[in-house]
């Protein structure tokens, strides 16, 4: 009796470990996409709803590089990120900058329109099918305690850590990073001290589209990709950014991881039907109760 209880307890522990590990790797993706949202928000005050589409572009462009250009994976990834970055640049130049009197509502509608356009073009170019790209280093599961993960999960976690560290370095130790932070504090003051605010806006779009694309690439071997994956991932990334109070630092990362783990635990322990609902309930709760984010003070530094 006691023995069976023990083994049952162990089983529960294994299960929970599995839920947490799965949640962390999904959460890392949400975090990357979320940071993309925050970078643009901080530089421009825009919520860029086209962010999810760059995630989609990353995955599908890698597919094209691999299958049609026959590039090896280490060349295909930078290539796809570069093309996505150019797409982000064009998006800012052609859709955001020409706006004479940018009001928040105009900009939001433009980004939504942009996302529909990008998705439509992707559908024409890549078709409606789902595509898969190979894992970076095999598919043999790795056991951790009673749980298992794939090598790709390690890639996801590793690359996320690298990107976030690089991000931190950029914002705190480079001139253009500091300039971008200055824009986030006060655009007018930044422009008065000679910072080219428009260029910073352009940079913010390029950085976040590159990050979105990278997220799309590292997740594609696990989840597959198609022209419409950006919608849901974009929304989840947005939730992560809101939980993190639109910070482009560690708060959004924690927001993403928290969201991923809660989703996974919710699906495993309560019911899988509520998985997406958990994300959106969290989003609403945060917006109602702590609009400054889970960790934010009322008027905190956002970069």
């Amino acid at each position: 009796m006691s023995l069976s209880l023990l083994s049952r307890g162990e089983m529960q522990f294994d299960q929970i470990l599995q839920y947490v590990l799965s949640g962390l790797s999904t959460g890392a993706i949400y975090a990357l996409i979320g940071i993309g949202f925050s970078i643009i928000y901080n530089a421009t005050g825009i919520i860029n709803f086209a962010q999810g589409e760059f995630v989609m572009l990353g995955g599908l462009l890698t597919l094209t590089c691999l299958e049609y250009l026959k590039l090896p994976i280490w060349a295909a990834i930078p290539c796809a990120v570069a093309v996505s970055t150019v797409a982000g640049l064009l998006f800012e130049r052609l859709a955001i900058r020409p706006l004479r009197r940018p009001t928040p509502i105009n900009l939001v509608i433009i980004t939504i329109g942009g996302s529909i356009l990008i998705r439509g073009l992707a559908m024409l170019f890549w078709g409606k099918d789902t595509h898969s790209i190979p894992s970076f280093s095999g598919d043999d599961p790795i056991a951790i305690g009673g749980a298992t993960i794939l090598p790709q999960h390690l890639w996801i976690l590793g690359i996320t850590v690298i990107i976030i560290t690089a991000n931190k370095f950029y914002f705190y130790h480079t001139i253009s990073g500091k300039a971008m932070r200055a824009c986030a504090y006060n655009r007018r003051a930044a422009s008065l001290v000679g910072i080219d605010v428009r260029r910073m806006v352009l940079f913010s779009f390029m950085i976040s589209s590159a990050m979105g694309a990278m997220a799309g690439i590292i997740v594609a071997p696990l989840t597959m990709t198609s022209y419409d994956v950006g919608v849901m991932l974009g929304l989840k990334g947005f939730c992560a950014a809101i939980i993190g109070g639109m910070s482009s630092g560690i708060a959004t990362v924690i927001g993403g991881l928290l969201l991923g783990v809660l989703e996974s635990l919710g699906a495993g322990l309560i019911s899988s039907g509520y998985k997406d609902a958990i994300a959106f309930i969290m989003l609403l709760l945060i917006l109602f109760i702590r609009p400054q984010g889970l960790f934010g003070k009322a008027d905190s530094e956002r970069v």
């Binding site: 299960q15 839920y19 790797s25 898969s132 598919d139 495993g268 899988s272 998985k275 997406d276």
Partner: protein, 379 residues
């Protein structure tokens, strides 16, 4: 040339043309497919197949000297749109029969329109409720879900696997499969030990599968359409789940194997015979239709024909044979359709009757397994 001669000539020419026009008046067949939208994986091959086979019939001189004309509209998987387009097909285009729609939800919405307009409707969707109870004007070519479920349970019963976990997608297809799985289980002495769902766009199902791993199930049955099942196959492999895994006929195309890769190996599912056409014994009545469909589709569209396209192929051929037997009005076509006996199509061997407008038996499905990235019939 005097005037009367000219007018005579004119009259003669007019008559000649109108006579020609009369002989060539095509028989209009309407079609409603979800060519775009979430059900595009159904609608696109259906539209392609219907177009292909009608072109072929016309190239061979049509049916009894009359050409067939396909009037196909895109419903985008939207029931409201499907109803509007069905009305348009009947009122404006004056079609003699309608093929489609692609999904069960749309079909249920269109049925009243077809009944009011008294035009036969041959649905390409799988839901059992389309023809149960039998409706005078409604037929279907897609195999009922219940047949697919029966195929899996047959196997489980034979191999004494009594405890199963089910994991179904939370859309119409998954809901209908889940209903059938639960309804038929007791009949086969099978107990459903866990019942989970996932969202059509979910990208990680390890949470549900971890729960299933802890449930002592002897088999896992997953009901969904791409890409979900491919994700599940990968997750199953990651978690090291060793019990047999079954999928639904919703993924019986090469696309699934391509997406799931090595993780697809060993997965079994009930499928229309089209994916294993070349493995069928020569005595199989469907073999000839299947091979020609596969070959034609490959030639036309440079991609593998699947059983979704097959549903539209069957529908066109059923209408064709009704017309061959001398029908050209909606009423006569309906009556001839109901008399269809032993038509060996893509989905199976159709035997319609006044009591049965689904027309297929259990032999419409074979159980197939993925071996070396290809389908193999499970004996």
């Amino acid at each position: 040339m005097n005037r009367s001669l000219i007018s005579l000539l004119f009259a003669a020419v007019t008559m000649l043309f109108s006579a020609n026009a009369f002989a060539a008046a095509p028989i209009k067949i309407g079609a409603l497919f979800a060519i775009t939208g979430p059900a595009a994986f159904l609608g696109e091959p259906e539209r392609n197949s219907a177009k292909m086979v009608i072109d072929e019939i016309n190239r061979a001189g049509g049916v009894k000297g009359r050409k067939l004309e396909l009037v196909a509209y895109d419903t985008a998987g939207d029931a409201t749109k499907a109803v509007q387009l069905a009305t348009r097909l009947i009122k404006d285009d004056k079609v003699v029969a309608i093929i489609g729609p692609s999904t069960t939800g749309e079909t249920m919405a269109v049925i009243p329109v077809a009944e009011r307009g008294q035009v036969p409707l041959i649905s390409c969707s799988a839901g059992s409720k389309i023809t149960d109870p039998v409706k005078k004007w409604v037929f279907k070519t897609a195999q009922n879900d219940s047949l697919a479920v029966g195929r899996i349970f047959d196997y489980l019963q034979k191999h004494k696997l009594h405890n199963v976990s089910i994991l179904t997608v939370s859309d119409g297809f998954g809901a209908s499969g889940r209903e059938q799985l639960k309804a038929q289980a007791s009949k086969f002495g099978i107990k459903i030990v866990s019942d989970d769902t996932y969202g059509p766009k979910d990208t990680d199902m390890t949470a549900q599968l971890t729960k299933i791993r802890g449930s002592h199930a002897q088999a896992v049955i997953c009901w969904g359409t791409n890409p979900g099942p491919a994700v599940i196959a990968k997750n199953v492999r990651q978690l090291g789940i060793k019990t047999p895994v079954f999928m639904s006929h919703g993924v019986s195309s090469k696309k699934f194997i391509e997406l799931a890769g090595d993780a697809a190996e060993g997965i079994m599912l009930p499928s229309g015979k089209v994916v294993v056409a070349d493995q069928l014994s020569n005595s199989d009545q469907q073999k000839k239709s299947l091979l020609s469909f596969v070959k034609d589709y490959q030639n036309h569209y440079k991609t593998e024909g699947d059983h979704f396209g097959g549903h539209a192929w069957d529908a066109v051929m059923l209408i064709k044979s009704a017309v061959e037997k001398g029908a050209d009005s909606p009423q006569a076509i309906r009556d001839n359709l109901e008399k269809t006996k032993g038509f060996a199509g893509i989905g199976g061997i159709f035997n319609y009757s006044a009591q049965d407008h689904a027309g297929l038996g259990k032999d419409a499905f074979v159980l197939v397994e993925v071996k070396n990235r290809d389908w193999v019939i499970v004996k």
